[in-house]
C-alpha cells in the first residue's frame, strides 16, 4: 500500500503521457506518471521502423529512438514514474480526484491529485469487430500483436500471410514479414482507397510487389486448427460479387482494421465519449466532460503521426497548468463537423487565443477546400491539394481571423470539406 500526493497524474507513459508530463513539470507543477508496462514509451517500443520525428525533431527516427528522446527529457526533469503499474479506477471528488492503481511491487497505490491527463493510447479492432464469417482457427492476429511478436520477442507468427485492412500497421507488417522471410500474398481492403499513409503503400507494398486489393473483403476463413485459406470477394457498389470470389492459401491472417481509443478507465470516471472518435468529448483546453480530467494522444483520437501526438500533448500539459493556476479560459463556443468531415477535435473553441483543430476527412479528393462557417457565415477557406481519410488534417484558426463581434453564447463553428468551385 502506498499513498501519493501530487498536483497531476498522467495515466500512460507513451508519447502522449511523456510530452504532457514534461510540459507540466517544466511549468513548475508536480506530476507523476503511471505506466502499466515495465518500460515507458508505449506503442513506440515495437515500431522499430523509421519515420518518426520528422516534424518534431526534424530528423528521421525509429519508434524506440523517438521514445528515448522523451524518456531522457522526463528523467532530466526528475518526474516521478511508476512502471508495471495499472490504473483501474478514478473517483471524482470535485476539487480533487482519487485514483487507484496496482503493481506487484507496491500493491495498491492511492493517488490523490487535482488534475488527471488521460494518455492510455488505443487498442486494435479485431475479427469480431469486422464480423468475418468462417471457422475460428489459430493464426488470426491483429497486426500490432504480430508486430510485437516479431520485433520484440523474435517469433514468427506464420509463414504465409494475408493481411486484412490497409491500415499503417498492416502495411508496415507486410514489409516486415517479407523481410523476415514470410510470403505475403495479399492485402485486402474493403474501401476503394487505402486506409494507410501513401508513403507506406509505396514503401511497404509496391517495393515488395505485394498486391493490394481495394474494394475487396475476406468473405470466409478456412481451417480447423490453423488457418488454411481465405476467400477474397470483390465488392461492387457495396455488394459482394460472390461469383468472382477467389481463394488464397495462407497460414496466417493479420488484421489491420483500425484502432479504437482505450477508454475503459475514463468511462468509469464518468467521462463522456464521442461516438465518432470513441475518445472523450473535449473542450478547447482538451478537458473532458469531468472537470480536471484532460485527454491527449491516441486515447483522445487515433493519430497517424507521433509528432502530432507530442504536439497535442504538450499543449494539453500547458492547459492543465492553466487549470491548476486558475487561469480561466475565455468563453467557449461549439465546434461541429460539417460536410465530409468525420470528426473535429476539440469540440469547443475559445475567443481568447488561436485555436488548433485536428480533423479527418470522409472522402478522397484532389483539390478541395476546408471551409469554416460561423453561424452559417463563411469566415475562412483554405485550399487542400489532397485529402483522404487516412491523413489527418490540421488547421489553426488565428485569433485575429475570428469575428469577435459576431460571437454569442449559441455560436457554432462548422468545419467542412468541399470540392473546388462548390
Amino acid at each position: 500500500m502506498k499513498k501519493i500526493n501530487k498536483e497531476v497524474l498522467v495515466i500512460g507513459g507513451g508519447s502522449a503521457g511523456m510530452a504532457a508530463a514534461a510540459q507540466i513539470s517544466e511549468k513548475g507543477h508536480s506530476v507523476v506518471i503511471v505506466e502499466r508496462e515495465s518500460t515507458m514509451g508505449g506503442i513506440l517500443n515495437q515500431c522499430i521502423h523509421n519515420g518518426f520525428g520528422l516534424q518534431r525533431f526534424k530528423e528521421e527516427l525509429t519508434g524506440p529512438e523517438y521514445a528515448e528522446k522523451y524518456i531522457d527529457i522526463i528523467n532530466k526533469l526528475d518526474i516521478e514514474q511508476y512502471t508495471g503499474t495499472t490504473v483501474t479506477d478514478i473517483e471524482d471528488k470535485g476539487d480533487h480526484k482519487v485514483v487507484y492503481a496496482f503493481s506487484s511491487k507496491n500493491g495498491m497505490l492511492t493517488i490523490r491529485v487535482r488534475a488527471i491527463v488521460l494518455a492510455m493510447g488505443c487498442r486494435e479492432r479485431n475479427r469480431g469487430n469486422i464480423g468475418t464469417a468462417g471457422s475460428r482457427p489459430s493464426g488470426i492476429y491483429t497486426a500490432g500483436l504480430a508486430q510485437r511478436l516479431v520485433n520484440i520477442d523474435g517469433l514468427m507468427p506464420g509463414s504465409k500471410c494475408v493481411i486484412v485492412g490497409s491500415g499503417d500497421i498492416g502495411l508496415i507488417m507486410a514489409r516486415r514479414m517479407s523481410w523476415v522471410g514470410a510470403k505475403v500474398s495479399a492485402v485486402v481492403e474493403i474501401q476503394p482507397y487505402p486506409a494507410g499513409l501513401t508513403r507506406n503503400i509505396v514503401q511497404c507494398l509496391n517495393d515488395f510487389n505485394i498486391p493490394l486489393y481495394l474494394s475487396h473483403v475476406i468473405s470466409k476463413i478456412y481451417g480447423k486448427d490453423r488457418v488454411e485459406a481465405v476467400d477474397i470477394t470483390p465488392l461492387k457498389n457495396g455488394m459482394e460479387m460472390t461469383e468472382e470470389t477467389f481463394r488464397v492459401e495462407c497460414d496466417t491472417l493479420l488484421l489491420s482494421v483500425g484502432l479504437v481509443p482505450d477508454n475503459e478507465v475514463s468511462q468509469k470516471a464518468g467521462v463522456k465519449i464521442n461516438k465518432e472518435t470513441n475518445g472523450p468529448v473535449v473542450d478547447s483546453r482538451l478537458m473532458t466532460s469531468v472537470d480536471g480530467i484532460f485527454a491527449s494522444g491516441n486515447v483522445l483520437h487515433v493519430h497517424d503521426l507521433v509528432d502530432f501526438v507530442s504536439e497535442e500533448s504538450q499543449r494539453c500539459g500547458a492547459y492543465v497548468c492553466d487549470y491548476l493556476d486558475n487561469r480561466e479560459e475565455e468563453s467557449q463556443y461549439t465546434v461541429c463537423s460539417g460536410s465530409n468531415i468525420k470528426y473535429v477535435i476539440p469540440n469547443k473553441f475559445t475567443a481568447g487565443r488561436d485555436n488548433k483543430f485536428y480533423m479527418r476527412s470522409m472522402i478522397v479528393k484532389n483539390h478541395a477546400h476546408l471551409v469554416l462557417t460561423l453561424d452559417g457565415k463563411e469566415i475562412m477557406r483554405k485550399k487542400q491539394t489532397h485529402i483522404q481519410p487516412s491523413e489527418m488534417i490540421t488547421y489553426t484558426l488565428k485569433k485575429e481571423d475570428l469575428p469577435l463581434e459576431d460571437l454569442n453564447g449559441e455560436s457554432r463553428l462548422e468545419i467542412s470539406l468541399v470540392g473546388q468551385g462548390e
Partner: protein, 486 residues
C-alpha cells in the same frame, strides 16, 4: 496400463464431468477420458450458459424432469465449486395474441413441472421487470428461478472436484475401440494406449453414436444442430437484467438476448441442422437473422458492440429427448446421449440419474468417508475490493501484474489455470476469461504464451491455441532466409 478401473467415463464435457464428480464420492476407481487436449472443448464450451427455468418442455419428457431437478441443485454447487452463477430470472416476451397463446402453453408446462414462482405478466408488469424490452410487447412470462452461469468454468470446477477426490483424467485420449473381456472392457485410444474398466459411461456428446459403435452397442445417429451466437461488449447498453426469450417456435426456443454472468451480452443462437459435426463456422446470413430477432426483443442491441462470435453444435437424437439408459446389447455400459439443451442445466441431475442406474445394474456404491465436495476458491482480481487486492498482492505479488486489461485478469489467475492443467490459450481463456474481452487477446496473447512457457517449460513454438495443429508461432525470426532490405 495394468490397473483396472471400476468405471470409465468417456467424454469430459459437462455431462461427463458431473458424472465423474458424483462417482468420485464413492469408493470406486474412476477414470475419465477426453479426446481433446483439455476438458470442456466440446459442446459444453459453446452454449448460452442459461440455467433453464423448467417451462420449455412438458413433464412427459426425461429432459424436463432432469432440467427442473438440475436447476435446484445449482445454489449448493456454487457454494462448493465457486463458479460464476446468478439466478437473474428469465422473461419470455410475446408481441401478438398468437405468441401470447404459446407463452400460456409454456406457463402450463412450468406449472406442471413445478417451476418455482412462475407467473404470467401483462405489458406493464413485463416492462417493469425488464425495462429494456421493446415497448410493443403485449405480455409474457416471468420465471424468477432461471439463471446464468459460466459453462466452461462450471465444467472445470466439477473436474477439479472429481480429481481432488481421486478421479483420474486422461486428455488427448480418443476412444476408438472397446473390447469386452470377462468382467471388464479394454478401451483403446487412437494413439495406441489402452485402459481397462469394468463399467463404461458413454458421455461423448456429438460422438456418442461412434463410441457406441466402437463398443458394438446400440446403433443410433447423433446429428448436429448448429447454433451461432454473438457476444457484445461489457459496456453495451443492450445488457438486460434478465434473460429474454421470444415466444418459441415448433423447432427451437428461438433467438434470445442473454446478459452473461460476467457482464457481457450474448445474442443468438440459431438452429440449423448441419452434416459436419466439426463445422463451427459462422455465416453472414445468420448474423443478420440474429440481430434482427434480438432487436425485436431489445431494440438497443447494436452490431457496433460485437466483440466476437462463436458456434455450438447441439447433439440431437431421434425423438429429441435425452437418451440415458443401460445398453441392452452389452453389459455394464450406460448410454448418456442426445444431451442437447437443457443439458447444462440438467447435468447435476443427470449425474444422479446415472448413479441410480449404475446402482440398479448392480454396481456397489459405498460413500467415501473422506469425500470433500469443496474446492479451493481462486480469488479473482476483478471481483475483489481494493483492500482485498492489496492483501492478495502482499501474499502473492503475481496478483499485482494485470495481464488481460479488458477483463482485469492478473498473472496469479493465469498461473492458477496452468497449475490446474490448462496449458493452451483456449484452456486459459475459459478458465480465467483472459483474451475474452473487447480486444480479444490483442494485448495479452504474447504475455500469456510467455507465462505458459515459463511455468511448464513448453517451448513457445509448441504452445497451441487448443491442441492439435493449432500452433501459434512456428519459427524464430532469422530461421527463414532473410530478404534484402530495400
Amino acid at each position: 496400463m495394468s490397473v483396472k478401473y471400476d468405471v470409465m467415463v468417456i467424454g469430459a464435457g459437462v455431462t461427463g464431468a458431473a458424472i465423474a464428480r458424483k462417482l468420485s464420492s464413492y469408493n470406486l476407481k474412476t477414470v475419465i477420458v477426453e479426446k481433446e487436449c483439455d476438458i470442456s472443448f466440446g459442446v459444453s464450451k459453446a452454449n448460452s450458459g442459461i440455467i433453464h427455468g423448467g417451462f420449455h418442455h412438458d413433464s412427459s419428457t426425461l429432459k424436463s424432469r432432469l432440467e427442473v431437478k438440475g436447476n435446484l441443485l445449482f445454489d449448493q454447487l456454487k457454494e462448493e465449486l465457486h463458479f460464476p452463477f446468478s439466478r437473474c430470472g428469465i422473461v419470455v416476451a410475446a408481441f401478438n395474441n398468437d405468441e401470447m397463446r404459446s407463452v400460456e402453453k409454456l406457463y402450463e408446462n412450468g406449472v406442471s413441472n413445478k417451476a418455482i414462482g412462475i407467473e404470467l405478466c401483462n405489458h406493464e408488469r413485463l416492462l417493469s421487470l425488464e425495462p429494456k424490452l421493446n415497448p410493443d410487447v403485449i405480455g409474457g412470462l416471468y420465471v424468477p428461478g432461471g439463471g446464468i452461469i459460466e459453462p466452461y468454468r462450471f465444467v472445470f470446477s466439477l473436474m477439479e472436484s472429481a480429481k481432488k477426490n481421486g478421479c483420474e483424467l486422461y486428455t488427448d485420449f480418443k476412444v476408438i475401440r472397446g473390447v469386452q473381456k470377462d468382467d471388464y472392457y479394454e478401451i483403446s485410444s487412437d494413439d495406441g494406449r489402452m485402459i481397462k474398466s469394468k463399467w463404461v459411461i458413454n458421455a461423448a456428446g456429438l460422438f456418442c453414436d461412434e463410441v457406441s459403435k466402437a463398443f458394438r452397442a446400440e446403433q443410433y445417429e447423433i446429428k448436429a444442430r448448429k447454433g451461432e451466437e454473438f457476444l457484445l461488449d461489457r459496456n453495451a447498453t443492450a445488457y438486460t437484467s434478465k434473460v429474454v426469450f421470444p415466444a418459441p417456435s415448433e423447432k427451437s426456443k428461438g433467438m434470445l438476448v442473454i446478459p452473461t454472468v460476467e457482464g457481457t451480452t450474448m445474442v443468438g443462437p440459431t438452429a440449423d441442422m448441419v452434416d459436419d459435426k466439426e463445422d463451427c463456422s459462422t455465416s453472414k446470413e445468420n448474423f443478420l437473422k440474429i440481430f434482427s430477432s434480438a432487436r425485436r426483443l431489445v431494440p438497443v442491441v447494436s452490431e457496433r458492440d460485437i466483440i466476437t462470435s462463436f458456434t455450438g453444435l447441439r447433439p440431437s437424437i431421434e425423438g429429441e429427448d435425452f437418451y440415458i439408459s443401460p445398453s441392452e446389447k452389452i453389459p455394464r455400459f450406460i448410454q448418456v446421449a442426445g444431451i442437447q439443451s437443457p443439458g447444462l442445466t440438467a447435468s447435476p441431475a443427470i449425474a444422479d440419474y446415472v448413479k441410480d442406474l449404475l446402482k440398479k445394474q448392480g454396481l456397489q456404491l459405498i460413500e467415501k468417508s473422506d469425500y470433500d465436495p469443496n474446492i479451493e476458491k481462486v480469488p479473482r482480481f476483478r471481483n475483489s475490493s481494493h483492500e482485498e487486492i492489496d492483501n492478495l498482492i502482499k501474499e502473492n505479488p503475481a496478483y499485482g501484474e494485470i495481464i488481460c486489461r479488458c477483463e482485469s485478469i492478473s498473472e496469479a489467475e493465469v498461473i492458477a489455470a496452468i497449475r490446474q492443467g490448462h496449458t493452451t490459450l483456449d484452456g486459459i481463456k475459459f478458465y480465467t476469461r483472459a483474451m475474452m474481452g473487447r480486444c480479444q487477446g490483442g494485448f495479452c496473447t504474447y504475455k500469456i504464451m510467455k507465462i505458459i512457457s515459463r511455468e511448464t517449460g513448453i517451448p513457445m513454438d509448441e504452445i497451441t491455441k487448443r491442441g492439435g495443429s493449432s500452433w501459434l508461432v512456428n519459427k524464430k525470426v532469422g530461421d527463414y532466409p532473410v530478404g534484402t532490405e530495400i
